[in-house]
């Protein structure tokens, strides 16, 4: 399996605060990786560094062939320009329009509709037919209704089938468990655990349960320390 992107000892500091600390992660083609962690764990910073929007303070981001390319990144519905018409945005990125959106501006849509609009735009422009493509989604399931949730999961699985490497940060463990090949757990800027979903099959454990257990270990350590 070819490596699409690898992070080598990546750290990022904001002022005196280290948001990420010596992160080492490798993303392969045809793989969906979940990124899980409590708020402030460094998930968004990590995705933005991989997308090339943030420079790491230390370390390297290595892309296939040594060149950045073909990354698609969606930071969530708040990153959409609110004053632009929803159909204009969709036509711009996906080359189509949706009748149900009418002439409404993005700001006039519900949160879930904005989220789906942003995801449609991002995934439509993903060059997922190329094995080198990288799709980075920050909290993509937030605000989506069950139909849209299923649609997104199907899109991610399709992207993987076409060779894309997908990294998804989310607090929605059930949704992640449905699509991920492995999950990376972040806490205070450190990778504290990596769970391969294939192990759940081998152990006969439910995928969601395995991720919840790992998350409990992640947060339980904190609670133990507080006690």
């Amino acid at each position: 399996m070819s490596t699409v992107c690898s992070l080598v000892n990546v750290s990022r500091r904001y002022g005196r605060h280290w948001a990420l600390n010596s992160i080492n992660i490798t993303l392969d083609a045809s793989e969906i990786i979940g990124l899980v962690g409590p708020n402030g764990a460094g998930k968004t910073s990590l995705l933005r560094i991989m997308a090339g929007l943030l420079q790491p303070t230390n370390g390297d981001v290595r892309r296939q062939g040594g060149e950045p390319g073909c990354a698609r990144y969606f930071a969530g519905e708040r990153a959409l320009p609110p004053h632009v018409s929803a159909n204009t945005w969709l036509r711009l990125w996906a080359g189509r329009r949706r009748d149900d959106l009418g002439r409404r501006r993005i700001a006039a849509l519900s949160r879930g509709m904005r989220q789906q609009l942003g995801l449609e735009a991002t995934l439509s422009t993903s060059p997922i037919h190329r094995g080198s493509s990288l799709v980075l989604l920050d909290e993509p399931w937030e605000g989506l209704d069950p139909d849209a949730t299923r649609w997104l999961s199907a899109q991610l699985i399709e992207a993987r089938a076409q060779g894309a490497s997908v990294m998804v940060s989310s607090h929605r463990i059930h949704d992640l468990a449905g699509v991920c090949d492995r999950c990376v757990f972040l806490k205070r800027g450190l990778v504290v655990e990596e769970v391969r979903m294939s192990h759940s099959v081998a152990a006969g454990i439910d995928r969601s349960a395995m991720l919840f257990e790992a998350f409990d270990r992640l947060t339980g350590a904190d609670q133990g320390a507080e006690q």
Binding site: R48, A51, A71, R78, A79, V84, A94, G95, A121, S124
Partner: protein
């Protein structure tokens, strides 16, 4: 689908507000009226256009970038230099297009004479004003450099410095060996002088202002190239 280029994306995101479009439409109507009644007074239209351009070219960059609005064009392999240049071009476009339309009105009204708007000093003034307004607003909200420029102009006028600048500029025009640097300095501080003063000091002075416009725009593009984009919550 192939992702659209930065020019197309910025043309969508940075579309001028209805208020600004109305202002430019009013300026065009005024230019049309003056073109029919007294073409010699079109000079005032260009000065107002410069003021409008100081607002419209100030589209701002970093605040929207930190909110993630520009993420789709900033993600590699897009060249940041191309992104910065596209942002500058789109920001300046409406003012430049209106300027050209006013110049066309003037040409028609004066039966084919070279319009004031297309003389070297006027073009230098427009491009310099556009570049400074765009670059200075990069870290700030929309229209910020227009507001600052207006305040500076009022302060200069209030302190009587505007007259001194005008005299410095006009003196250079009056004498063959006039002080080139004083004239250029005055034009850099208050670019409308290059439009309001009928005689330009020298072509060199206008070329220096034009060079300053290119340098300022270059610094702005470089700033976009080096900018870091941590996400901020817009709420």
């Amino acid at each position: 689908m192939t992702p659209p280029g930065p020019l197309r994306v910025f043309a969508t995101i940075l579309r001028p507000s209805p208020g600004l479009i109305a202002a430019y439409a009013a300026i065009l109507a005024w230019a049309g009226y003056l073109g029919m009644q007294s073409p010699g007074e079109l000079r005032a239209v260009y000065v107002v256009l410069l003021l409008c351009q100081s607002f419209s070219a100030a589209t701002g960059f970093s605040i929207r970038a930190r909110r993630g609005h520009f993420d789709p064009v900033l993600v590699p392999p897009a060249s940041r230099v191309a992104v910065g240049a596209a942002h500058a071009l789109v920001s300046m476009a409406i003012g430049v297009v209106t300027w050209l339309l006013v110049a066309a009105i003037e040409t028609t009204a004066t039966h084919g004479q070279v319009p004031l708007g297309l003389t070297l000093p006027s073009v230098a003034a427009l491009l310099y004003m556009s570049a400074v307004a765009w670059a200075a607003a990069l870290p700030f909200p929309r229209y910020s450099s227009g507001v600052v420029w207006l305040v500076v102009a009022i302060a200069l006028a209030g302190a009587g410095k505007l007259l001194a600048l005008r005299q410095a500029y006009a003196a250079a025009a009056a004498e063959p060996a006039g002080d080139l640097w004083s004239a250029t300095g005055a034009a850099l501080v208050f670019p409308p002088l290059m439009v309001t003063e009928p005689s330009a000091p020298t072509a060199i002075s206008a070329l220096l202002v034009l060079s300053a416009a290119i340098v300022v725009a270059g610094i702005g593009v470089l700033a976009v190239d080096l900018f870091d984009f941590p996400l901020v919550d817009p709420s």
